[in-house]
Symmetry: C2
Subunit: 329 residues, 2 copies
């Protein structure tokens, strides 16, 4: 099994998650909740986060059957955050389908997010594990929710902030994505009864890999877009990306004023010319190169965080890091 | 102490809650979260739900010091639901102040609700109680969240439904408010190590008292309004009240068509004449009298649910029921 490419292992584990998801949030569940929840869950997420939970649990000598509920909880949390984020960001399209709020209205979308959130907690609690382990899982799950929500608050309020710096960006990204990206692996490690040093090491991994993931996500928006059909949608949305933070500091006062003006415009008023001008500014300021280098550095930090793992456990986690790094590039 | 009016006891307990709230969701907590959360928490809620938790715990022989965290959790859940409900209902004013989404914007309001939700779970988990008791509390807390969200889904989607019946209304109200209204008392009973029959009895109490509370709330909207400055705001909002359900069945086809039309109008297009016409229809159909009788009946059912408590515990819970029934009338 160790010889198989990491993609195949992830795929194999990802396939195990849907059955548990359907048990925890049944397709024929509560009216006006189960259907929109599955409308979203079916939009083609690859179940990578839960797969990493199962993979980490096995890699650390645990029984991944016992981690299935936690894996599902991580996937549910991920989807709950996407449902609410899409409203908060005003995104109308995700994975080429109307977002939940567009398809079912604002009121239902908020409530469906709350429903999936509750399902996620239920999933953790329903784990076939001793009470003490479930409490530890709940604790790390909740701590991750708290940090992610804190990061989202920094993100929302960074928009249109003229003094937003690269340091602000990294702090925001670390809060928003750090622990959240590795939550499955940390839970898998707890279920495998891994030592404290392993848990700490995986959390440190997240604190670099999460921001790396976020920076790569910012860069993807400049090249292929994000499945929303358009390049530069972060600019139209006014999202506080690393490119924005960098260009703000590197451009002339007149340029940064215009940049700010475009970022503050409501999405529907942002013209193609505005987006093109900002893309040009990012080029001129070296912001794209800067972001690429920042991502490289963060991925290096992530790899170094793994040095503290026992030697025999390092290869699998290094492959996971490379996989995450490559798939977002 | 038994001779003191129930109001004084509730007030005494309510005062104990704020210190724990400030510990669990500090005023100087995360940026862009703590401030709007406290903007809402400070809007003058009377902390009745948490007070009932402490009162029930003591009445059943428990140490209410140990119930303070759960009491705070109930108050946090209540406030989280209000923050999200105000968005879902499009309510701009609560307790004579702009609602969170009006004051801080939609994105922050959704995220702040999620934050308060997480704080509520944290509060339950932080209870100074053995692991097994905390697990039981988490279980009942989560089950109540799930039911309340289910009820809210029925509520949202009942709006503008031409076939909405009184039975649909009662099912919705029972889901939305039943367990949620007595959650504090049930938690207090668990902490007091009350027998299963007591827990069941308090939950049954909620299944009648919750809908009674909701019906009274519908009636208040027709008389004094709900602190939103206007009478009949449920009509402008298109809320699926018991009056709406009753009038829909009792009116002529032409009348029910006009009723539906008015309820479906966006709030800002509903005229004063529309509201006056609906109020007149409710009078003509006997819907107001019907709602008053329904509330009486439900309160009677609630009192009867208490017959299964040990005789010496009945008086205090009967006073609580009367208190809740009176304060909403």
């Amino acid at each position: 099994m160790a010889l198989l490419p990491i993609e195949i292992e992830i795929l194999r584990h990802a396939k195990r998650v849907d059955a548990v998801l359907e048990e925890l949030a049944p397709r024929d569940g509560p009216p006006f909740l189960a259907e929109p929840a599955w409308y979203h869950l079916d939009t083609g997420g690859k179940r990578i986060r839960p797969a990493l939970c199962l993979l980490a649990c096995e890699a650390l000598g645990g029984d991944s059957e016992k981690a299935l509920h936690f894996a599902a909880a991580v996937e549910l949390l991920h989807n709950m955050l996407l449902v609410h984020d899409d409203i908060e960001d005003g995104d109308a399209v995700r994975r080429n389908k109307p977002t939940v709020w567009r398809a079912y209205g604002l009121a239902n979308a908020i409530n469906v997010g709350d429903y999936i959130f509750a399902c996620a907690f239920r999933a953790v609690m329903a784990s076939p594990l001793p009470e003490g382990v479930r409490m530890r899982l709940l604790d790390v799950f909740l701590a991750t929710c708290e940090r992610t929500i804190e990061g989202q608050a920094l993100d929302i309020n960074a928009r249109g902030n003229a003094r937003f710096t690269v340091e602000d960006y990294l702090r925001m990204a670390e809060r928003k994505t750090g622990r959240y990206l590795v939550l499955g692996m940390v839970g898998g490690a707890i279920i495998a009864d891994a030592p404290e040093v392993t848990l700490q090491c995986l959390q440190n991994l997240g604190d670099s890999l999460g921001p790396a993931f976020q920076v790569r996500d910012d860069l993807i928006d400049l090249t292929t877009g994000k499945g929303r059909g358009v390049r530069g949608s972060d600019i139209a949305e006014g999202k506080a990306s690393i490119l924005y933070a960098h260009a703000l500091a590197q451009s002339s006062p007149a340029e940064s004023e215009r940049l700010l003006e475009i970022m503050k415009k409501p999405r529907e008023e942002t013209t193609e010319a505005d987006v093109a001008w900002v893309l040009g500014l990012y080029e001129r300021c070296g912001s794209i190169r800067f972001a690429e280098e920042a991502a490289e550095k963060l991925i290096g930090d992530a790899q170094r965080a793994l040095d503290y793992l026992p030697a025999e456990q390092q290869p699998i986690f290094r492959r996971i890091v490379s996989y995450i790094a490559e798939r977002t590039s």
